[in-house]
């Protein structure tokens, strides 16, 4: 008797049109179609969504939290990417 465990899936839900899909949790299912069906029952029992994505967890590649400082450091030092960095003379509007 095969005791193959169902793979793990990450579930993403679009709560309404115009919003992006958001990670809500995970579940186990034998394949993608069944994962979507299970996600409907587990994560949208109260109309929390209009669209479901499932991704097999092993296909998710993540950045390393221990490297977060060096990974995101380049953005920290570039304050000039924000509009508040610039002086705008008084009286100028629509900018």
């Amino acid at each position: 008797m095969s005791k193959k465990e169902w793979p793990l899936w990450e579930v993403f839900i679009r709560s309404k049109a115009g919003l992006n899909h958001k990670h809500v949790g995970s579940l186990r299912a034998a394949d993608a179609t069944m994962a979507v069906e299970n996600a409907r029952d587990v994560y949208t029992r109260r109309s929390e969504g209009i669209s479901i994505w499932v991704v097999e967890s092993m296909n998710i590649h993540a950045s390393d939290p221990a490297e977060a400082d060096s990974l995101f450091e380049p953005a920290d030092s570039k304050v000039y990417r924000h509009p508040t960095f610039y002086d705008v003379p008084d009286g100028i509007s629509h900018m």
Binding site: M1, E5, W6, G25, S26, A30, D31, R45, P65, A66
Partner: protein
Amino acid sequence: MKELNLNELERRFQEKIDKDIKIEPNDWMPENYRQTLIRQISQHAHSEIVGMLPEGNWITRAPNLRRKAVLLAKVQDEAGHGLYLYSATETLGADREETIDDLHSGKAKYSSIFNYPTLTWADMGAIGWLVDGAAIMNQVPLCRCSYGPYARAMVRVCKEESFHQRQGFEIMTTLANGTPEQKAMAQDALNRFWWPALMMFGPNDADSKHTEQSMRWKIKRHSNDELRQQFVDVTVPQAEMIGLTVPDKDLKFNEQTGHYEYGEINWDEFWEVVKGNGPCNKDRIDVRRKAKEDGEWVREAANAFAEKRARKKSA
């Protein structure tokens, strides 16, 4: 990255906790923190799953279609809660099958309340009102737990729990306002579930061995006794409102503290039930084991179907 020693890692970890920065699955965490969470979250998951049994017992005998639909939806929610929580344990590296097998072998614990039988329909009222009520008291602070996946699961769970308590209280109210027999049935259910509900918060603070460390790690935010007191304070007036009597002759309101004082909890009973000697412990685990065994062919069929579908796609 240069290697950090364990002390430094632990110091940084505690610093994050102190700043209320959530811990996520891939973050470094002390082994003890991981194990404590796995134990707590899996116990919680088991409680949700075993918790379906006492109520499942009454689905086919609900007094009308509305009550039946509601109870069915409630029990289905509890299954969902179990699933969110098993998923949360998996983010900590726990093996899902092993976790479930630990329940079935008796190695893992679950909330002792579910080892009491549900003898009458009024028990559905008492469970929703008291047991889900106590669960909410416990779970609301867990929404701020330091471990992200657990906290997020708790937010979902708490949103769903509020209907559970209301439907239970509605059942109790209806019975309490019904015929004398119905009212007696409601009172009897309250009599049987009151003390086990108080035990749900766990041992007194003085006897609770995990509390201190869990508080430091912000897994726990309030002590057992604090939560129990809060539960008594909100629940006693609700019982009075519907004309039922809390079965505690020592219960009295203390004007000075603004809290109810309540009688001694029978901790011997509590520990007996925890040890496996409650009225339904054996039955609950037998049912769970059988459910897993009987479901084996379904899991295999799903795998076979998935393989067949995959072959068709690639053909």
